[in-house]
């Protein structure tokens, strides 16, 4: 009475047995896994915006040596609680631009701001820093929106332009290095 594989397969294929995979251990495993995973799952994705603050130091600071083609670029953005924005551009201690962006209704006009910033970016493509100077009374979520609007192009769409040196450039960034300029004032 040896086990005959051929007969066994034939029996199985004829459907004479009601043999089934036992799924209950697998089900038990899943019932255990799901609560564990539910506890560890985060449904809101946390992100961060990096910025630097001026730090007081005892060490004597030497003025940085300026390279030949380097300019003293200073782009500031003021925001007040009346939803008004003022963008000021100072290059090598000369005020080149000062634009007031009136509110769009009662809200800040972020589209106009991005247009103005893009015009500056076109002229100074190597510069990345913007000093943000919100006034008292400006809510934090508006500050975050101002940072967003200053860092990237509208809807992160790449913008093409010809730089002052004649190069064809494409970028999704405006001024990604946003710092708070009025903390110690």
């Amino acid at each position: 009475m040896f086990f005959n594989l051929k007969d066994f397969i034939a029996e199985q294929s004829e459907g004479e047995t009601d043999w089934e995979i036992d799924l209950s251990p697998l089900l038990a495993l899943m019932v255990t896994l799901i609560p564990v995973l539910l506890l560890q799952t985060s449904f809101a994705t946390l992100k961060m915006i990096e910025t630097t603050l001026p730090v007081l130091s005892d060490a004597e600071q030497k003025p940085e040596e300026k390279k030949k083609d380097e300019i003293d670029f200073n782009l500031s953005l003021f925001a007040n609680k009346k939803s008004e924005l003022v963008m000021e551009l100072v290059v090598d201690n000369k005020r080149l631009k000062s634009v007031t962006i009136k509110p769009d209704g009662e809200k800040f006009d972020f589209i106009k701001l991005q247009e103005e910033l893009f015009a500056v970016k076109k002229k100074y493509p190597k510069e990345n820093r913007l000093k943000l100077m919100p006034g008292d009374g400006v809510p934090y979520d508006i500050i975050v929106k101002l940072i967003d609007s200053s860092r990237v192009t509208p809807e992160k769409k790449p913008m093409r332009f010809v730089s002052s040196t004649g190069e064809n450039l494409e970028t999704t960034f405006l001024f990604p290095d946003v710092v708070f300029g009025n903390i110690t004032n």
């Binding site: 255990t32 560890q40 946390l46 961060m48 975050v144 708070f180």
Partner: protein, 171 residues
């Protein structure tokens, strides 16, 4: 694990019919895949604090481990310790220094203690270095005057690397 197994087996034995588990296993498989996709091992989490709703940002990057500071509508917290109270979008006067109204004294002291702790570890372990990094979770409705005072105090305590927490606005 054996409890579910036993219940299923008993039910099958008692009633004489086989419970069809295939559909349920299918459903659980989909759930597990979804949960694994959202699985997060980071210790940084959105704190469930009364009066704290984070703003959303489209340009924010993935967060890195840093000291957590919470600024809700009700107070300033460091390591779950309330250091100053906020009432009507203003920091209570008793927490502010008399000679400098932007300076939050209890926060400065606590930040200094934390910095000293890290520096003490750094003396024994060369891989540890005080970087002055703060991960700030602040309520989106807070006035800039409150945040400016918090940032000013952090600056005075030598914390120059500020990371602002935001929710992913692209999702």
């Amino acid at each position: 694990m054996s409890i579910v197994h036993d219940i299923v087996k008993k039910a099958q034995k008692d009633s004489g019919f086989t419970l069809q588990l295939t559909a349920m296993v299918d459903m659980f498989t989909i759930m597990i895949v979804f949960l694994l996709k959202s699985y997060d091992t980071s210790t940084l989490e959105v704190k469930n604090v009364d009066g704290l709703v984070l703003p959303s940002s489209i340009t924010a990057a993935a967060p890195e481990e840093a000291m957590l500071m919470l600024v809700s509508k009700k107070g300033v917290f460091l390591n779950d310790k309330r250091l100053a109270s906020i009432v009507d979008n203003k920091i209570e006067a008793k927490s502010l220094a008399k000679e400098d109204e932007d300076f939050i004294e209890p926060l400065f002291k606590e930040l200094n203690i934390e910095a000293e702790k890290i520096e003490a570890i750094a003396k024994r372990n060369s891989t540890v270095k005080f970087k002055g990094t703060i991960f700030m979770q602040a309520d989106k409705g807070l006035d800039y005057s409150v945040l400016r005072k918090v940032m000013y105090t952090a600056t005075m305590a030598g914390y120059g690397d500020l990371r602002l927490a935001a929710l992913d606005g692209e999702k």
